[in-house]
């Protein structure tokens, strides 16, 4: 009888209630592989997705369970939305109440879609019209990696180095602040991150000889509350008596000056363009910095602090607490900007508060986030530049053959500049205790050139031919044990896996491929349970949410671009795209039906899309 009722419920299209959605440990059959846990603050309602990483800890874990291993094979498109912009699409949609918020790559047009009506019609559109000169200053396509919601406002960065806040109800601009001069090479591609009354923004421009910075703006009016440079004197970096790096080689006065020749720190980049994490118990933010400038290392002997590094700062004052440089004197463009996932692990009979960081350099670090001590550093993919990371000193042991040489080709350095993993964020499941990440299997033949600094032009010098690593596959998707520092399972992919990840309370992991396959995978076994071909590459961040109809949906943006251009001459590389796809079991919901459904939109989409938008 119960079964009949359930079937009847399904057939009538009424939503299935989310069972035990709040309790990650509700599945008695599923044990954690590692015992790792996470603080899922601020504890949004299970069906909402109000920040790119879902929670402050950056887990991208959704507790939803309606879509499960039994019905995931019946996922179909419920509705879709194309935004008309042809640069790479890297962000995650936000779902706040009954509204979905999207922001396009340059020219950074924002949309609010009404999830309560058939076809999710447009509620409002906001066109910020950023300065088009920014197009020539952005190194790696004209992308935006996310946007934030707070205090009734949609807050996001514009490519032309402005941050804007838009009234989430009306789409009217509330404030806009200019944070830098884009003609000097500083752009903003980072996802703004909000905690309380502050929005955290980091600069882009690691290849342009910029001087990187990270700042906290006031959510109300956008004014700068604090700003910390990533190179230069301690005073400008907000390094004071409370700064206590774990390793002695990072202790000293004004190392952001003295570890560079002359004044070269002023063009030393170290731009913090990745995701930000926040620990509410410690009131600290965590973020990484980019490669040093120029990319040719022989021009800048020294450690080049604080490039390719990680910072912990007091979220209120900006005061630096500790830092750790992953790749001292970075010779290969191994930025430290990848996301930091805050978890707590069992460790030698006790517990440690840690962060897990998959570095571009190919090592996955598990670091005590209270003091910067590296507990685990193991390769998570193919690399040959370092023998190991010495846990006594925190220093990598660099292999002799890996050093670049000016005007001479050095063959087969792995990974190349793009790393074993790039900005595309991983996910952590408190149910399995594992992290899930899209990674690369690539190498380069590298010839370095001497370069000079010309403001607003690349300060680069790396000439590369990139090729796949052993096995011939460019990409891979892995499940990672952050305590043991080892893979649990992996899936090879033909092209580089640039996708973000969402893992759900049903132990389903969702990610996509560059050639447009969107997949659902069993988080425990790595078995692929469902694949759906979409219109363009998936190099964005999927989410799971509950609609106003209490139905679970999975949403993901498609649209090739960004660093994925590395694969642009590989057979099967897709054309551009700009479509958000939303899936549900059987495609049921607000976007399909057996009657003459119509939309009830409050605004048209903008039509001023220049034909040249795809080029610069």
């Amino acid at each position: 009888m119960r079964r009949i009722l359930l079937v009847a419920t399904l057939m009538s299209g009424v939503a299935i209630p989310a069972l035990s959605a709040d309790d990650p440990k509700s599945d008695a059959a599923g044990k954690s592989f590692t015992g790792a846990t996470a603080n899922l603050a601020p504890g949004d309602a299970p069906g909402q997705w109000t920040r790119q990483s879902r929670d402050y800890a950056n887990t991208r874990y959704s507790p939803l369970t309606q879509i499960n291993k039994g019905n995931v094979g019946r996922l179909r498109v419920a509705w879709s939305f194309s935004d008309g912009q042809m640069y790479g699409h890297e962000g995650a949609p936000l779902v706040v109440g009954d509204t979905m918020y999207l922001v396009t790559p340059f020219p950074n047009i924002a949309y609010a879609l009404d999830l309560s009506k058939p076809g999710a019609p447009i509620k409002w559109v906001f066109q910020p019209n950023p300065d088009p000169r920014a197009i020539g200053e952005a190194c790696c396509d004209k992308v935006l990696r996310g946007w934030a919601y707070a205090d009734g406002k949609l807050i996001y960065n514009l490519l032309d180095a402005n941050t804007v806040a838009v009234d989430a109800a009306t789409g009217k601009e509330v404030w806009r602040v200019k944070l830098d001069d884009v003609t000097n090479g500083t752009t903003l591609t980072q996802s703004a991150f909000v905690v309380g009354d502050k929005v955290y923004v980091g600069s882009s421009g690691g290849e342009l000889g910029t001087n990187g910075w990270f700042q906290a703006l006031d959510v109300k009016d956008g004014h700068t509350v604090w700003k910390a440079f990533t190179n230069g004197p301690d005073s400008g970096m907000l390094i004071g008596p409370g700064f206590k790096p774990f390793y002695s080689w990072m202790v000293g006065k004004d190392l952001g000056v003295s570890t560079w020749p002359g004044d070269m720190w002023k063009q030393g980049a170290s731009a913090p363009w990745g995701f930000v994490s926040y620990d509410p118990d410690r009131n600290e933010v965590y973020y990484g910095t980019s490669n040093p400038g120029p990319r040719t290392p022989s021009q800048r002997p020294g450690l080049n602090l604080w490039s390719s590094a990680l910072f912990a700062r007091d979220a209120t004052t900006g005061a630096a607490k500790w830092a750790y440089q992953f790749t001292p004197h970075d010779e290969w463009d191994y930025d430290g900007i990848n996301e930091n996932v805050l978890i707590d692990i069992p460790w030698k009979g006790g517990h440690r508060k840690v962060l897990v960081h998959f570095n571009r350099n190919g090592f996955a670090y598990t670091i005590d986030r209270t003091n910067g001590e590296v507990l685990v550093a193991k390769p998570f993919g193919h690399q040959n530049w370092a023998k190991e990371v010495d846990l006594k000193t925190g220093m990598p042991v660099v292999n002799d053959g890996a050093h670049p040489i000016v005007e001479k080709k050095v063959e087969n350095i792995c990974p190349p500049d793009i790393g074993v993993k790039n900005w595309n964020p991983s996910a952590f499941s408190p149910r399995t205790g594992l992290l899930y990440a899209g990674i690369f299997n690539t190498c380069m033949d590298l010839t370095n050139h001497i370069v000079k600094y010309i403001p607003g032009s690349p300060y680069d010098g790396m000439e590369m031919v990139r090729h796949p690593g052993p096995g011939g596959n460019w990409g891979e998707f892995i499940a990672w044990d952050p305590v043991q520092g080892k893979r649990v399972w992996s899936l090879k992919e033909d092209m580089m896996t640039w996708s973000g990840v969402v893992v759900t309370g049903s132990d389903l992991v969702f990610y996509g491929t560059l050639d447009g396959w969107f997949r659902a995978v069993d988080a425990r076994s790595g078995k692929v349970l469902w694949s759906q071909k979409l219109g363009s590459a998936i190099m964005s961040q999927p989410i799971a949410y509950l609609g106003p109809d209490k139905r679970e949906y999975i949403a993901v943006y498609t649209g090739v671009g960004g660093g994925a251009g590395v694969n642009r001459r590989v057979n099967g590389f897709p054309p551009g795209g700009n479509t958000l796809y939303v899936f549900s079991v059987d495609g049921a919901g607000i976007g399909a039906g057996l009657t003459q459904l119509k939309t009830d939109a409050k605004m048209p989409a903008p039509v001023s899309v220049p034909p040249a938008a795809a080029h610069n």
């Binding site: 020539g136 607003g456 032009s457 680069d460 080029h615 610069n616």
Partner: protein
């Protein structure tokens, strides 16, 4: 000597200051100019955007048939000299007329 002749030739051409889309490259096919243009392509950071093999990256591919601002030598000259509204910097204050023509000659030599 060959370099001197080249310099004199350029100095004797006042019209070059007003290069238009239809102006021919006086250095087209000149081996010395192409070599000089190659060096400038690296030295002036052109390669940072358009790649050392000119196939593009941060900026467009210069070896294919697609030219947003025109692919005739005079048009390429003007694009380098004046920049574009969509991010190509203007180089006329940083490079001489003959240096720009040398870069155009190098690009012409790489066209597929």
């Amino acid at each position: 000597m060959r370099g001197l002749t080249l310099a004199l030739m350029l100095l004797a051409s006042p019209a070059l200051a007003q290069v238009t889309a239809d102006t021919a490259n006086p250095l087209a096919g000149n081996a010395d100019a192409i070599e000089a243009g190659h060096a400038l392509f690296g030295k002036m950071n052109c390669a940072g955007c358009h790649a050392y093999d000119l196939t593009g990256g941060m900026g467009p591919d210069l070896t294919d048939a697609s030219w947003q601002y025109g692919g005739k030598p005079g048009e390429v000259y003007r694009t380098i000299a004046d920049g574009t509204p969509r991010g190509m910097p203007a180089w006329k204050d940083k490079m001489t007329v003959d240096e720009i023509w040398q870069v155009v000659a190098y690009i012409q030599s790489k066209k597929q």
